[in-house]
Subunit: 612 residues, 2 copies
Amino acid sequence: MKQPCLTWLPFLCAEAPADLKTPQQIARFELDQASGEPVGLCVRPEMGDSFWIEKKEGQFLITGGETGVLYGAYRLLMALHAGYPVRLGTQPSAPCYDLRMINCWDNAEGTVERGYSGRSLFFENGWFDYDASRIRQLARMMASVGLNVICINNVNVHDPAHKLIEEEWLPELAKLAAIFRPYGVKLMLSIDYAHPMRHGIPTADPLDERVQQWWMQQTEKVYHAVPDLAGFLVKADSEHRPGPFTYGRDHADGANMLARALKPHGGKLIWRCFVYNCMQDWRDTTTDRPMAAYIHYAHLDGRFDDNVILQIKNGPFDFQVREPVSPLFYAMPNTNLALEIQLAQEYTGHQIDIYAMPPMWKEIFRDLPPKQVMAIAAVGNLGRDDNYTGHPFAAVNLFSYGLTAWDPGCDPEECIRLWVKLTYQLDEQQQEMLVALLMNSRSTYEKYTAPLGLNWMVTTHEHYGPSPSGYEYAPWGTYHKANRDAVGIDRTKNGTGYTEQYPEPFRSLYASLDTCPDKLKLFFHRLRYDYVMADGRTLVQRIYDDHFEGYEETQAMAQTLSQLDLPSPDREMAQERMQRQLKNAHEWCDIINTFFYRLSGVKDANGRTIYE
Amino acid sequence: MKQPCLTWLPFLCAEAPADLKTPQQIARFELDQASGEPVGLCVRPEMGDSFWIEKKEGQFLITGGETGVLYGAYRLLMALHAGYPVRLGTQPSAPCYDLRMINCWDNAEGTVERGYSGRSLFFENGWFDYDASRIRQLARMMASVGLNVICINNVNVHDPAHKLIEEEWLPELAKLAAIFRPYGVKLMLSIDYAHPMRHGIPTADPLDERVQQWWMQQTEKVYHAVPDLAGFLVKADSEHRPGPFTYGRDHADGANMLARALKPHGGKLIWRCFVYNCMQDWRDTTTDRPMAAYIHYAHLDGRFDDNVILQIKNGPFDFQVREPVSPLFYAMPNTNLALEIQLAQEYTGHQIDIYAMPPMWKEIFRDLPPKQVMAIAAVGNLGRDDNYTGHPFAAVNLFSYGLTAWDPGCDPEECIRLWVKLTYQLDEQQQEMLVALLMNSRSTYEKYTAPLGLNWMVTTHEHYGPSPSGYEYAPWGTYHKANRDAVGIDRTKNGTGYTEQYPEPFRSLYASLDTCPDKLKLFFHRLRYDYVMADGRTLVQRIYDDHFEGYEETQAMAQTLSQLDLPSPDREMAQERMQRQLKNAHEWCDIINTFFYRLSGVKDANGRTIYE
């Protein structure tokens, strides 16, 4: 039997005995095993997830709620292990969001949609299939960074995953929940909106009494098996999924119907807002995909029950390298909202290319309305690979996600440094080389892939590698309309009007070429190749420069990587992936430059090679 | 049990009894069933496939070889049924090519590579699986138009199709051969060049004695089961298939080794010349894919054994809508050559769009050196669909292929008219509407898809629908390098030098802009958008015009189709496919025009809508 990989928790060794059932017991066990000195615990249930740490008579004392003491224990252990001073005092550390979720896109047949870390941790061949020890380790990893909900199945509920809420599957679901429970992690399930139609009900109309009744009864059965289930996650009327639109109902009707079935059990209904026309005619210039979520949802503000949470992707498109914050976050003051980000590197390198996300998240939180969002979800980057995340460095995103979900104000570099300290035994110089490499990795990736907020020049479907016009005549609403003179979509009020969906100051900031940041200019504006950017360079020269720099920085990154004394197998895995990243960066650089050179006819001002 | 579809043979009803074993017996049976009058047969074995028909004392008399009388019988019956005069006299009708082959790309698991007519007629689930009555009907269809060889498995030999030559599969193979045999149709098999390595031999080096020995012995076993097997078909060193290059041997070494194993049994070794670098770097301008076959094979002329036949695709690329004839046909006077065409509509509409091929073949045969080619093969368009060919009109290609393989000088329009007469009971006006529709279908398809010999603007992998830059940065060697000023590859001696592979008069014809036909201009030349074509229009205007015309012609075609009194289910099937063709033609038209408008900035001279 293989020792489970302990990722950033190598200082934790023995696994907790199976008879430990509460977070407090786990906290006690972990502290006894790993702290090296006596630590006191004081549970005040009313504190929930919060905790504080004091030092009394030379001994640490953690005070917190039932889960709070567990979070406190891990924070203390990590600080001690990293050699960091422990933050002491009775000012509680409390999470910014009550629900700190991972959304796994795992299919019952064992694949993971947009998964780059091997097959599903939970399923194989249309049924549960997991290594309990690996699941326990995952629960431990989640608890160590404060994550408390995991949705185990894909939002695209492919047959037979809908059965997760059926009688036959519930006993097994209960067993899985029992593994996570001592770590304070609750299960969530993605459900099939049209599920009642599989049971003889001829409709899924949310206002139909038979439909309401079916969900009431079925939800009761689910909660009988898993009383602390966090709730249901729903992707409806999106990319060919069924939903209330089929019955002429709106999404408040649809979500509230399900929320009422969950309400008696304290469950939440998470409703994704990723709704747009995925059958757009490319000739249609009146439809602008980034506007879709706002159009579908803003007018429903105030209509949702109090246990409904609308889950909105950080940007208005779909997890691109750089997007502005979705305007929908500013438009629903009377609705519970959740932020959805993506750890799976769908558009950001497939866990082949190095892409540390904390600097990107910092930008998102800078622009997010402070009190509007009350939950956070991240599409998982997990799989059956020994290290859970494919690329060993991709674990930094899972780790930092937990810390960020707890405190969005945390410093990206500190998150990354802590992960490096906990994961590897490097001397300080090497440690800082790796921290810098990770800190810069997103900027490098952006340079060699997406010009200035343009996005979607990626290979269709697969989303790895360049295809500058791959989406140009496709039905997905993702066009750049590059021609011989200019590129981009005018999204100001002179164009599609997307900027009008923003409140001030964002509306003016983005709408004006004078104030719109260069890095987002092509998201909001159509620009001529000879347009002069804020830094004095022309648009096309800036595209060339960024792409050459991106490739050069990747080469430097490879150089740095080869100098790091990483342990096996991480060293070999990172090196092998770096060879693929270099090839990818080279292709992106040359192809995007050639694409714009062919269109513009403008040569590189510095005489570098751009292929004909 | 379903009555097998009789396609163009509806006047044949009863199936021959299973105890008829020879072509002569079949001929006798078919004539007795369907001629309506007594017909005499006279077999002169030395005449082989040839025959003549006389009228003696008011009675038809067919004289020919064992297979000749069968071919004569079908020709007579078809003429009588179509109401055509029977060509009488003692001048024998003899086939131009001894081997008139269909190459099925069927996989043992039941799929058909580039198949658009349902699953395999022969295999399912890794084993034989066929309806003997359907196979008999296929043999009848083949014999009726003079085809005499069928290769039943894909040239890409995917596991377990290699077992076709192994002991376990041979008894079943013999049963299948026995169904085809009375119709004069012989089986052929695609083999895996590296097969010996599956049996403990550590190499597939053609000069290794163990390898030679293995093939000798295995071939003997195959011929013991199927004594009249036509031979083996090989795709080696092509698109990741194994081959002699692995061992530093050339293709003469590789082919001759296999040919020597076949020789004692009278078998032929068909060696495909589809060899090129499918991992080309798009930046590499020194490699030009159309030059590959000539480079690989021309220097081997004279090195091949007399039972080796090199099978060359009609054009130097890969079954595009318009290509010049491959220069390799002119370069190997001392080698047996076969022409390979494709009935499967891989690049020509997937048997959704109507595409009758005889006019295209006429152009090929016009340029083919007369005595150089001694065999012909066509990639099949067959599958398990009731009508064998998906689109009911796609049968015209199978039918006409047989007639053309017999006599490449035959008139395309007459082939098509005969198919229409035999297949449908239409009045003469409707018959001629359908003949004209089919005759024009290739020109229409060409107009809305490929500009002037440019090709490869098709969706990658799938090869249906437009993707104007889909292959532009791919490893397949298929680039147009369109930029703001010009499009195409200069393949003259000033460019890649491809035209130098042709003998005169082709070399000068293609190399000079003055003489190169407009329809092939962009195959051979890089042209500015303002280049003035032979008809006085600019290149870009000609592209716009062709595409608008192609779509308009498709709309007219749909109109014609709706007026035809076709029988069910052909009527409904053709109508349903026409809706898809219309959509396809519309997309092609608008997308290609927009693509060139964005690049050139030139508006349509006639003010039609080209989208931004």
